[in-house]
Symmetry: C2
Subunit: 313 residues, 2 copies
Amino acid sequence: MSATFTAEPSVAVIGTGAVGGYYGGRLAQHGREVHFLLRSDYAAVCKGGLSVSSPAGDFHLPPDQLRLYTNAAQMPQVDLVLVAIKTTANDFYEPLVSPLLKDNTAIITFQNGLGNEERLADLFGAERIMGCMAYTCINRIAPGKIHHVAHGFNHLGEFANKHPTRADKVAEIFRSSRLPCQVITDLPAGRWEKLAWNIPLNLSVLLDQMVDRILSTEMGVQVFREIAFEVLRIARSLGIALPDSLIDQHLQHAIQMGTYRTSMYVDREKQRPLEVEAIFGEPLRIAESQRISAPYLRTLYMLLKILDHPFKV
Amino acid sequence: MSATFTAEPSVAVIGTGAVGGYYGGRLAQHGREVHFLLRSDYAAVCKGGLSVSSPAGDFHLPPDQLRLYTNAAQMPQVDLVLVAIKTTANDFYEPLVSPLLKDNTAIITFQNGLGNEERLADLFGAERIMGCMAYTCINRIAPGKIHHVAHGFNHLGEFANKHPTRADKVAEIFRSSRLPCQVITDLPAGRWEKLAWNIPLNLSVLLDQMVDRILSTEMGVQVFREIAFEVLRIARSLGIALPDSLIDQHLQHAIQMGTYRTSMYVDREKQRPLEVEAIFGEPLRIAESQRISAPYLRTLYMLLKILDHPFKV
């Protein structure tokens, strides 16, 4: 890590959706230099800025306080890249991220599922990569308008564990920008802990039902638990010993979410590509290679793949 | 069977929805004495009669040619009772059917799933009971208006096999009323053959997608096949040897259905109770008692139970 990083790192947000807008917005609100890459919302944010409503405090960043781009090639090199695009766009990692890199630039992926760190590491070097598991309910309610609904803790981990202090420094920057953040030493465990959240939660996508509606039924709670337990069994086959108590913890958080729409739920509503491969496909392939029976995961994967198929009719 | 039956049996239709309206309507169109029990559509049919559009020929039965009732207790005893209510209303078999019975009245259930014949047999005697597996796409498009979309073959079987000629006679009456009908000697095999149709087809309910959309995807076809195969494996554990070729046959029929909405799909749309127990729950319990692994059936059952739960929020 370069010395510039410890002082006041410059940040690029790749993908200014709900997550990128909220996290980048919080950092900018607290005086960091943040460069935002946008696509569909560019014109709206240039005009109206970025508005965030949040239980941790509303704020508005006017356009003249924002650094906005539609093309990564026009962005400066930075100390810290926050990757917040959909995993369905991971084929674009190279053109989106490479222009931003100098020798010691760190890359943090906020994306869901498995395989993101690995693919970034292959492209840009393992030592740059960190993963952040964000347990935050955020919706983009209109272009440039973000609603932080609830929660907000983050687990940040190094991919290659070569930087004894980098994660702590990033976490400190996050925390001082009203982004609760805890450093974890075992990134794979963090990923599987998050999968035991994302996979049962995305029942809502398949059923086209809000999480609170699902969890208001006994069967919904039972299925949430059984799916989460299936995920833990796969993790355990890899030597990742997550405790059963995690399931109740996730369940309690899910119940608190109220009428929150998961990002994949919104994607289905808008007929956008679903993050099926990262969240369901990769874990399923691991289960199969480990010869762990995963009937829920397999069925959910296949059914979501049917939904995900581009409409022909 | 009484002699009256062979001559010109009188018929009662219990539940004049899509199936009851179409089958009863065809019989009435061809001069049979048909008594219809209605609920929500009574006033509309009293006023406008029964209209059927069908590739086998449209027809209209004006109110003065129809025998319409809202209360089974006011209906006459008949030779043949066609049961076409939802299985979710099976608790009402006794008050709906018993007023119609004389010594030799036969009862044919057109209902989907397992357990209907058994329950009718317990209430009214096994020797009365027949099952009809209707492979017919019919929608009730408005009160008193029925659209027969496609197909129409029927497999009719005796429950207790004590009547050497009764099923043949009923089939002949059906066929002479433009209702293709074939007698089968193995009713359980017919039921499981139909389940291998209903269970994969009702993916459309879970996914809130039309069958043609699902089957336009490779994954949709694969899942249809895998689910149907799972159903055949359960049947085989019971000694019911249905051939693998049945799956392609069902698949071809399903592809021909176009934009047809299954009855359970319509039930979900209208937030009515779903026939989950008869179509999914009963076969699943059999799979479990036979110790046959049925991961699709179990997952589909549990997810449909979540959907089926009365809305609380």
